[in-house]
């Protein structure tokens, strides 16, 4: 295969799987900014290793493997920050996270539906927290509630969304 053709294939694959990579990295790191950085790092590393890219083989396992290394590197570099997972857990959970990340498009489609079912207040909370990236403390101040109540509310919303998404996915299967 022509060199340019291989590169095009690579780019197409990489772009196509950005959301899955993000889903994978975010699930292990639990922080949007950090996850975005690590995905970008992963992209770079994959690019540098384009010689190992085999167009006839599945792209994702290779990309996930690189992403896992990058996540582990991130944990090493940020030892002092209290990240939720440690290296051991990342290794243990990696397979399952990969499987879930592979479904992220379906999850998002389901989520979009489920978000519409939220009450206006809850949607507002999700909007503030995730779309505008407000801190829980800022939200609490803005809506004149305690930090604790916002945390609980967000937790409930996530649970509600998770349930709804799972039901929808199950229904589709």
């Amino acid at each position: 295969m022509e060199q340019t053709e291989i590169k095009e294939q690579f780019v197409r694959q990489l772009t196509q799987h950005q959301n899955r990579l993000y889903g994978y990295v975010y699930s292990l790191l639990g922080d949007h900014g950090r996850a975005a950085d690590v995905v970008q790092e992963t992209n770079l590393v994959l690019w540098r290793k384009i010689d190992e890219f085999q167009p006839d083989k599945p792209f994702l396992p290779w990309a996930f493997a690189i992403a896992r290394f990058q996540v582990l590197a991130c944990l090493r570099d940020h030892k002092r920050d209290r990240l939720l997972l440690d290296a051991e857990l990342v290794e243990v959970m990696s397979d399952e996270v990969e499987r879930k990340a592979d479904q992220i498009d379906a999850i998002r489609a389901a989520l979009r539906h489920c978000l519409q079912l939220l009450s206006a207040n809850n949607r507002e909370l999700v909007d503030r927290r995730y779309d505008r990236g407000m801190s829980v403390a800022d939200i609490a101040e803005a809506v004149d509630r305690t930090i604790g109540s916002i945390k609980v509310a967000l937790l409930r919303i996530r649970r509600q969304l998770a349930e709804c998404v799972q039901q929808r996915l199950a229904a589709e299967e």
Binding site: K7, N19, W47, R82, D131
Partner: protein, 542 residues
Amino acid sequence: MLDEQGIERLREILKSDVSARSHFVNMQMISAAIQLEGDAGLTPQLEDIHPLTPSPRHPNTLSPSHLVTPSRRSASFLLAVAASLLILMLGIWLVSSFITDDSDRPSQVAGTVDREVRDTSKEPTAHGVAMVTRLVGVTWGDDQTAVEAGDALPAGRFAIQTGHAQIEFFCGATLVVEGPAELELESAIYARMKHGRLRAHVPPAARGFSIEVDDLKVVDLGTEFGLSVSPNSTGVQVFDGEVELHPSTSERRLLKSGQAVVRKAAGEYQDAQAVPESFVDIAGLESRARLQDAARYGRWKEWSDKLRRDPRLIAYYAFAEQGDWERRLACSNEPANPKLDGAIVGAREVTGRWNAKRALEFKQPADRVRVQIPGEYSSLTLACWAKIDSLDRWYNSLFLTDGYDKGEPHWQILDDGRLYFSVRPVNRGEPGPRDYKALSPSFWKPSLNGKWIHLAVTYDVDTDTIVHYLNGKARSRHAVPEAQMPSTTRIGTASIGNWALPTQPDARFAIRNLNGSMDEFVMFAAALTADEVKEMYECGRR
């Protein structure tokens, strides 16, 4: 955030329990998906990344929470990261990969989005027993909150120091109160007068309306009467119809048209001469209101004429010229620059803040004023006088540039009444910081319906601050991270009162038109001070 112990505990659970791990992964993936959706927010749509993409603009950019937006643009941030990285390396633009990645996703049309089932307990309510419909030359005492014409009055004290106020009770009775005066509004059919003068107009439908003064109760039997109360004298005059007097000290008495009584100090009531002219009636107040209107218009005109020559102006639309505009909204800058004239699409000419002044009413989804403003600027101030009939669009546009590229401002109101101003820090499709969304607390309340309000926003690149103003007062102040505060701003093609042009003949477009009117719009290439914004409001209020 969990503390150190909490994290340890969580790790233990995850390490020992398979189902906990599974649950954790599920939850994390949902959060990741929410992040991806959230990031979709107001980022551009796919066709914005590449204008040749043959998909129409979907109206689902309407989402109030930016969350039910469909997917086509949702991954834009990550795609942009990957794309820019790779474009640099390969020098090729693989738009096709964006399209194939997203085109199979379902799209939604605004009308099909389920909004929540109505909760009747949440139906908006208002309270009050009467309404202020006219205020002429009124000044307020220190202990009385100023109210505006159109405001509802709750039961309780109402006092003015000078001027005339017209109060319409919900039962249908109208009082013209002359300051200084103090009343206690008891209910929709009953008030107590402490001191001052008033003229009551009580149509048959409001018969039975009564006013009490100390030991005297005046019950109206469908009529017009005057009442004056001072520390040493109380007078009642009937101009039309009849009223019943119920003095506590003597017998009830019927007072007919043309009759009057007066009581000095604690004495008995004596007949007196009725002098209708001494009480301002509704018609009289109306003509006074017109005079006040003319005076206020004159004050604004003077200020406006001065503003036209302000060197900081980018564009000023005074909506001042009477008569046929030929669908053109003249730019008021001096020296004149006809290139900045706006083109009126759909919007109808209506009366502005004053009878002498015009306004444009935006009602239909396509109504707008198109402008084309060249040049690059840094700090900005946008201000307008608007009358909002309702915030029934998810985004209610004040001023939006057609695209949303580096340095372009968007100014709108969300359906929950928050003012929303943002300037994009990077070009579409480029990686970089997200735009900073300066959202004020909600200012909207139903009583603002149909009232002229002054809105302004300042964008100060020297201090990295965005400030929202409502009626001359700062509503919220936002310290913006420097990276999200582009120092160069530009307008280009833009719409007042709406957003963007459908790009293709059959393209659908987001309904973002303002439901209301606008009668002044000004844009400065500088951040005005709080005092200047206040002056703008003071000189322009009705």
